[in-house]
């Protein structure tokens, strides 16, 4: 680890999601606006100026958008539960718990998401009959839970040990200390990377289209296959993903600002 990284211990940076617009950074800020306005113009303008095929694409896709959101929200919720447990396991002094969590992270991080999706999907299918959507959510959550575990671990370790000592000295046990003192503070450190994971996960849900889940991409493929408007369909799909991630990254930066209330003088 180089020195620049180790000195900024409080900032947990997982560089996979979209760049979060920071009001203090004018360059990124305007880049966000340019992308946002451009995307909106295209999303509205294309169906208006070229109703065939764009208007028909617009009518065909909403079901897929809903599914994409469902898969994303369900997966991230489950992934956060898994991540919290994994993160606590990674810092636990209980040998077994620690080793189990570390092994899980190690294994998952070494396998491509697409391979995991196939594997978990077919492995699940072998023993239990679950709906495709549920299998997809479980697969995504197991994968992202490992990454989320690292985020939680880093967030928790970024909190000064003096906070733990102060809490223990008052008579709180370790569990209460985690719940009342450490996690509420770690949450602020964790939020940006969790948000990034959420956005990254939303993009990665496009992979579940191969598992017979009718998300945006699969709906698009279905439409393109029958209309042969491949270029137009994928253009529109790309724009939809883009507008969603742009909006989410903006929301994230607002939320982050709100959560930092106790750090403002």
């Amino acid at each position: 680890m180089d020195e620049g990284k180790s000195s900024s211990r409080e900032v947990v940076e997982i560089g996979d999601g979209a760049a979060i617009p920071d009001p203090g950074d004018p360059g990124l800020f305007s880049a966000w606006w340019i992308s946002f306005i451009g995307t909106i113009l295209l999303l509205v303008g294309l169906p208006l100026t070229t109703p065939d095929p764009y208007l028909r694409i617009v009518r065909f896709l909403p079901d897929g958008i809903l599914i994409t959101f469902e898969v994303t929200c369900a997966s991230i919720s489950l992934a956060m539960v898994i991540g919290l447990i994994t993160g606590l396991g990674r810092i636990s002094r209980n040998r077994f718990f620690n080793l189990a969590a570390s092994t899980y992270v190690e294994v998952i991080r070494g396998i491509p998401l697409l391979v995991q999706l196939f594997y978990i999907y077919f492995a699940l299918g072998r023993f239990v009959r679950v709906p495709d959507l549920v299998a997809a959510v479980i697969a995504m959550a197991i994968c992202y839970g490992a990454y989320m575990g690292e985020v939680f671990r880093a967030g928790i370790s970024s909190i000064d040990f003096g906070q733990t000592e102060a809490s223990l000295s008052l008579g709180f046990n370790h569990r209460q200390t985690m719940a009342y003192v450490i996690l509420p503070q770690a949450w602020r450190t964790i939020l940006p990377p969790v948000g990034n994971e959420f956005i990254a996960l939303l993009k990665d849900t496009s992979l579940v289209s191969i598992l017979a889940v009718s998300d945006i991409l699969r709906r698009g493929r279905e439409y393109a296959a029958e209309s042969f408007n491949y270029f137009e369909t994928y253009t529109y799909i790309a724009l939809i993903y883009l507008i969603i991630t742009l909006i989410l990254s903006k929301l994230l930066s607002i939320m982050e600002y709100r959560l930092s209330y106790y750090e403002r003088r």
């Binding site: 000064d160 003096g162 906070q163 000592e165 102060a166 809490s167 223990l168 000295s169 008052l170 008579g171 709180f172 046990n173 209460q176 009342y180 003192v181 509420p184 503070q185 602020r188 209330y261 106790y262 750090e263 003088r265």
Partner: protein, 246 residues
């Protein structure tokens, strides 16, 4: 001395960090209402000794009895014992995500199940006492170091402890803020609180201490009342230390 009731009874404790011996066969008795000031050069083990009293630091051998409870008896609940022992840290360690008032009410409400309104009332009284009632709604980062340390003292007092431990409470403060914190500690001492204080403030030791303990290399070298300690130290090492620091 053995006749009076010891609220803290440390006997023959040893603590090692790897091959370094931080505490070497240390014994110390503190009676109810006594103020013990621990002095010594850095690395002498004085903070380690203080931190063993609420088991923030575990020991390798020896026994520690606090208010009748053996800290290493598996049948004892360390968290219950810690509620009786307030601690003030060098770096304040206020809960950064809580307001000043919430810092004071968190433990009483969660641990002692005191109703929120009552806890708030007690907290406000404590804040008035340490002179920062007007900062109740502020967050710790908005306060000066001296104010933060006074809040930290009030937070410990909010649990109504029998003993207060101070771990170099003024060492992280700008010089002009040391006085305001010491004033609070002096007041607390006058009210009869049992206190163990690790500090470099000789004036405080002279004014408040019943017993001054001097530590060096993990051992208690000298233990005396402040008059004797400062005017006629028995050991060379103590005299040498006082020469350097005064």
């Amino acid at each position: 001395m053995n006749d009076a009731e010891a609220i803290i009874d440390i006997s023959g404790i040893t603590k090692r960090f790897g091959s370094f011996t931080a505490l070497d066969d240390v014994s110390l008795r503190v009676e109810v209402g006594q103020k013990v000031v621990v002095l010594g050069p850095s690395g002498s083990g004085k903070s380690t000794l203080l931190r063993t009293i609420n088991r923030l630091e575990t020991i390798d051998s020896g026994t520690i009895i606090v208010d009748g409870h053996d800290l290493y008896d598996p049948g004892e609940d360390i968290n219950k014992i810690r509620m009786e022992v307030g601690m003030v840290f060098q770096s304040f360690n206020l809960f950064r995500h809580k307001t000043v008032l919430e810092n004071l009410t968190l433990a009483p409400v969660k641990l002692k199940k005191i109703p929120v309104s009552q806890a708030r009332q007690q907290a406000m009284q404590l804040l008035e006492k340490v002179g920062i009632g007007d900062k109740a709604a502020s967050y710790p980062i908005q306060l000066s170091g001296g104010q933060q340390q006074r809040v930290a003292i009030a937070r410990a007092l909010a649990m109504n402890p029998k003993i207060m431990l101070f771990d170099e409470p003024t060492s992280a403060l700008d010089p002009e803020m040391i006085g305001e914190v010491l004033d609070v500690m002096v007041t607390l001492a006058r009210e009869g609180m049992t206190m163990v204080v690790v500090t470099h403030e000789m004036g405080f030791a002279r004014e408040v201490a019943d017993v001054v303990v001097f530590m060096d290399e993990g051992r208690i070298v000298e233990m005396a009342d402040p008059d004797t300690f400062f005017s006629a130290p028995v050991h060379d090492r103590t005299a040498q230390f006082l020469d350097q620091i005064l």
